[in-house]
């Protein structure tokens, strides 16, 4: 026994060595800034002078006097509640289509995954801006249908949804997961349902959906976490405007930190976002037991 154990330890050791580059990177570039931001959130750090502790002042200001905080929170929540469900439904729909046995289906799968690779980049945000501006392609097409022009990005009531569409467009990673889940639904269930005379719709809601609920849950959580932190599109396309209608939380963080140089204040804001994300994730987990189904009994 003893000899065996030590051999395992040795193997572990080599495993950790392999992990070391990542661990060092994580500690240096993620964990250390993470801890420091906690410290900074109680200071008045402005990047120019050394930070001074000011207690809870930042947090008090955020919750009591900062109207922008509530505005950005509101915008972010609308953005998330709109784009996450739409994105998941869209991803599931495309996954259903792509799970059919068609010729050359693999090529389609690759093509439909492409937007996810490009998705978060600045270049695509700029492309989005030029597609949706008043003289842009989308309005050109609409004009043939004698609609518009619509100020997709200049109208405060519309801009947020236009930006949400960019997030929806990056449905690829959720789609791939759905695709895998759909493949895993046992064929005999469908056969049995067909024998019992269940229609397509009924099969979908009574068999497909329940069987893939764990993946829906996973996608829901991952997308919620990601979406709450969206930044690039708001900065590049609309710069938070018009009149703060796309002032996402990430945008506010950036502005406080690098525009106004209130690094301490921005750190406090980021910790609040962190807590919101943890809270939401926990809530989703808690309520998931009501609607998720695990074949193996679900002890996870």
């Amino acid at each position: 026994m003893k000899i065996k154990a030590s051999r395992y330890e040795k193997k572990d050791y080599i495993g950790y060595l392999f992990l070391l580059p990542w661990i060092i990177g994580f500690l240096l570039f993620k964990f250390y800034p993470f801890l420091m931001s906690f410290y900074y959130s109680f200071t008045d750090f402005n990047m120019i002078n050394p930070p001074e502790l000011i207690g809870l002042k930042n947090f008090i200001k955020i919750f009591t006097t900062d109207a922008d905080f509530y505005q950005s929170l509101k915008v972010t929540l609308i953005y998330t509640t709109f784009s996450v469900p739409v994105k998941l439904i869209f991803a599931l729909f495309i996954a259903m289509v792509l799970s059919m046995k068609l010729k050359g289906i693999n090529i389609f799968r690759t093509i439909y995954y492409l937007p996810s690779i490009l998705g978060g980049s600045v270049a695509v945000s700029i492309l989005w801006k030029f597609l949706f501006m008043r003289q842009g392609l989308v309005n050109k097409i609409l004009s043939y249908l004698t609609i518009g022009p619509i100020d997709f990005l200049g109208d405060p009531d519309v801009a947020l949804y236009t930006i949400s569409m960019l997030s929806v467009w990056q449905f690829g990673s959720s789609m791939v997961l759905f695709l895998a889940a759909l493949k895993n639904v046992p064929g005999e269930l469908y056969e049995a349902a067909a024998v019992d005379g269940a229609g397509k719709l009924r099969t979908f809601f009574k068999i497909t959906i329940p069987m893939i609920t764990p993946i829906i849950l996973f996608n829901l959580i991952m997308q919620t976490i990601n979406t709450l932190q969206t930044f690039t599109s708001a900065l590049v396309i609309t710069n938070g405007g018009p009149v703060k209608s796309t002032y996402l939380y990430g945008m506010m963080l950036y502005e406080e930190a690098f525009q106004f140089m209130n690094m301490g204040y921005a750190s406090a804001l980021s910790w609040i976002l962190f807590i919101i994300i943890i809270g939401l994730t926990a809530a989703i987990f808690k309520f998931s037991s009501y609607w998720t189904f695990y074949e193996d009994g679900g002890d996870f």
Binding site: G25, L153, V243, F260
Partner: protein, 435 residues
């Protein structure tokens, strides 16, 4: 054997990681390393020195500056200058982050309004008194570049607000732009033009109209030096009514369209659908294109204006990192850039009309100065307003102001609501600055 291979693999991974890291090592450390080697070899006088020089700009500026660097390196073989250049977007954020992290370049291009924040730490910039400034207007230096008896930056150019005219536009619509010397006539002409051509707007609002108008109304700073507001509700109401008028009457392009674009990328300006814009003369080259002829006229005035609203200030400063290792060498380079014939002629007017009188003359002699730029600056200098103080150009004050202006432009707020909001919210920001 397997074990050996895996250990080799792991080690090579780690080594590449560290090598990768050391490349990103902060230049300050590099400099330290170099200065150490300097200390060990005192007999070697012509020590290799590497200076980092960071600026923002467009291609013409990059090319001219790179050429100047090359010339200087030829003249001073022991000095190597590493250029770090980019566009305007994100430059300030990068600069501040680098200053905070101790990785800022030795020589930095700095915009004058930033000094209010950057000088909160006194050692941000080195004193450049060793640079010869005899050809610079001492009054100008005292106002904009000297703080606590230290010359924190040398002005690379003079900017003064002017009206830049697209004469192609005015020829097409058949209106004489020389008559547009006051706001009312611009509004009237603008209405007329837009009623005839739905896509054409006489004025291009790049965000500076409000300040200019307000300054003409009040004759004051937006936020005074004693941190009280430089305007009353009635006064700021007049400025918001002006904003309302120009948007209501389509004197300017609707905010819904213009909000997306930065000054020089607005398709309507490029396609000759906008007639005039209030801008810095240093922007003339970027606003120009083959399909248009530009001209400059002076800023329109309000009847009974209390001040001209014409801001005159350095287009940008060149400063030296106060924590850099080669302050003296950096200052020498700057001296060469702004004072030597060779430096001046290589740099040309890529940073606007030079602030040094000698450099201006030299460029004019050699036909290197855009006459429009020079005309714009000299017109602005005839009747400038007082210097915009740091509180008035504070980033948070500007952000609040812009938001409220946008609300009026988008018809979300009436001018009256905007005026009231302006008073309370600017006061809020000011109170925070006070603390």
């Amino acid at each position: 054997m397997k074990k050996v291979i895996s250990i080799v693999l792991v080690l090579s991974l780690i080594i590449t990681l560290f090598v990768g890291c050391s490349k990103d090592e902060t230049p300050a450390e590099q400099n330290n390393a170099e200065s150490k080697s300097e200390a060990t070899k005192p007999e070697d006088k012509q020590e290799e020195i590497t200076l980092r020089y960071m600026w923002w700009g467009s291609d013409s500026r990059h090319e001219a500056t790179l050429a100047a660097i090359e010339k200087y390196e030829e003249l001073n073989p022991h000095i190597k200058i590493e250029p770090e250049f980019s566009g305007w977007d994100g430059y300030y954020q990068k600069l501040v982050t680098q200053l905070a992290g101790g990785t800022a370049a030795d020589i930095m291009q700095v915009d004058q309004p930033w000094l209010g924040d950057l000088l909160k730490n006194e050692s941000t910039f080195a004193d450049l008194s060793s640079v010869d400034t005899t050809n610079f207007d001492s009054n100008f230096l005292n106002q904009y570049c000297i703080f606590n008896d230290q010359l924190v930056g040398v002005p690379m150019g003079i900017n003064g607000l002017t009206m830049i005219i697209n004469t192609t536009f005015f020829n097409e619509v058949g209106i004489d732009y020389n008559a547009l010397t006051d706001w009312e006539s611009i509004v009237e002409a603008g209405k007329e033009i837009n009623s005839q051509y739905a896509d054409k707007y006489i004025l291009y609002d790049t965000g500076m109209l409000f300040d200019t108008y307000l300054n003409q109304v009040t004759g004051n700073q937006l936020v005074k030096d004693d941190l009280s507001l430089g305007f009353t509700e009635e006064e700021v109401l007049k400025a918001f009514q002006f904003v309302d008028t120009i948007y209501e009457n389509k004197v300017v392009q609707p905010k819904e369209e213009s909000a997306l674009f930065k000054t020089t990328e607005n398709p309507s300006w490029i396609d000759n659908n906008m007639g005039m814009t209030m801008q810095w003369p240093s922007m003339i080259n970027s606003l120009d294109s083959d399909n248009k002829e530009l001209e400059v006229i002076s800023i329109p005035q309000l009847e009974a204006a209390k001040a001209s609203g014409v801001v005159v200030r350095p287009s940008m400063l060149i400063s030296v990192n106060g924590k850099g290792s080669y302050i003296e060498e950096s200052a020498k380079f700057i001296d060469w850039l702004v004072n030597s014939d060779e430096g001046i002629l290589t740099l040309k007017a890529v940073r606007g009309v030079p602030a040094s009188a000698y450099a201006q003359d030299l460029l004019v002699e050699n036909d290197l100065l855009n006459p429009l730029q020079q005309k714009g600056v000299s017109m602005a200098l005839e009747n400038p307003r007082d210097k915009v103080n740091f509180y008035s150009s504070n980033a948070e004050v500007s952000a609040v102001k812009k938001e409220i202006i946008d609300k009026v432009a988008l018809d979300i707020s009436s001018p009256e609501e905007a005026a009231a909001e302006m008073i309370t919210r600017i006061q809020q920001v000011v109170d925070e600055i006070k603390n």
